[in-house]
Amino acid sequence: MTRSIAVAVAIARKDLLAEWRTRELVPALAQFVVLALVIANFGFQIDSRSAPAIAPGVLWLALVFAGLVAFGRAFAAEREQATLEAVLLTAAAPAAIFGGKALAAGLLLVLCEAVLLPALALFFGVPISFGLVFAVLLATVGMAALGCLFAAMVAQLRARELLLPLLTLPLWIPFIVAGGQAVQVAMGADGTMDQALKLLLDFDILFVVLTSLAARFVLDD
């Protein structure tokens, strides 16, 4: 067990180090996110009354697309450099490999969220409450687990740009629904943040367990 954690940490560290060296992903994500917000501003009629109705959608649209890019890239690099096999052949547990990659990709998405939330506050007047931040973080956990599992699968196939959203989005819907509700509550809608948070936590537990079990079938033969 400690071996697996050490492996996952080593992989996460390696991924973050590689991202730091190349600086490809995070600036692209941040730029994308800000762009999405600017487009939303021109595409929708944003005023103080419509903002609460539109902001949740904008947040989750931006996050979903950023997530698809981030998790897709997590395994794209391994495929390009033919390194995934080398890593598997070190006898590292596939679940640990998967965990490390999901951890790193999730953290990179969190960096992107650190840009997104303040931008939302700025452009849409979304109040950045502790509950909202927590909701976004919880959703990121589940989305990272699912996104990375299917990214690992899709990296081994053709037509990946088509397949990754097709496979991942249906599984992300519960997170988007609960997360969207969290934003609406933060902006003053009825309902409690606690309900949304509890749902997100339940989904996290369910899907983190399932994806960890499934990792060995996706990564290894």
Partner: protein
């Protein structure tokens, strides 16, 4: 206990046959060369031996363990040098080796000796993507023995290697059981006592005298 016992190992990619009933026995300490043209099935066979690929049919026993059931245990005791180096371009040579040490649970102190063995100490701090193909290949070879494996599988390690590379291959094979796929007859003669020749997935001949088979 033999190091490798392969019995009637066959493999298809879809409906394309790649290996046809290959039998192979490798004893402890043997150095066996696998020869054959491109497309003969050398890489497929070596990947199966390295547990990177599950054969479509056949039995395989490595170091006394069923290679189809105990893959992870075997992987801990084997080293594999694939056709492509499979190293991380964004990391330095040193960081690459340290990372794989961490994955294997090997002591990081082995990294400097591995770099020395591969004559890469000078470029240890250089990013792997900036190394020449020959250097990358040497790095991959050094990586394969970081954990001091008993068995080593090398798939055409000499393909993009420079002169220093041949010495490195000899050095890592020394004292280990090894299976080496290569086109280089001279290298095979120098390093191996036995050879197996593949042609279109079938074993054309095995013997202790290396012959060029048309």
């Amino acid at each position: 206990m033999s190091a490798i016992v392969a019995e009637s190992v066959s493999h298809w990619f879809g409906s394309e046959p790649a290996l046809d009933a290959v039998d192979l026995v490798v004893e402890r300490g043997d150095h066996v060369a696998v020869l054959g043209e491109n497309g003969a099935g050398k890489t497929t066979l070596l990947r199966i031996l390295a547990t990177a690929l599950r054969p479509s049919s056949g039995k395989l026993e490595i170091m006394g363990l069923d290679a189809l059931r105990e893959r992870r245990r075997l992987r801990g005791r084997m080293g594999y040098v694939a056709h492509a180096p499979g190293i991380y371009g964004a990391l330095t040579a040193e960081e690459n080796l340290a990372f794989f040490c961490d994955l294997r649970g090997a002591d990081r102190a082995r990294v400097p000796e591995a770099l020395e063995l591969a004559r890469l100490t000078q470029v240890a701090r250089r990013r792997a993507s900036e190394l020449s193909r020959g250097m990358q290949q040497r790095l991959a070879i050094a990586r394969a023995v970081l954990h001091d494996p008993l068995l080593l599988i090398l798939d055409e390690p000499d393909a993009s290697l420079d002169a220093e590379g041949a010495d490195l291959i000899a050095a890592v094979m020394n004292g280990r059981t090894a299976v080496l796929a290569t086109h280089d007859q001279a290298l095979a003669t120098r390093l191996c006592q036995r050879a197996l020749t593949l042609r279109r997935g079938r074993v054309l001949g095995q013997g202790s005298r290396l012959r060029i088979v048309q």
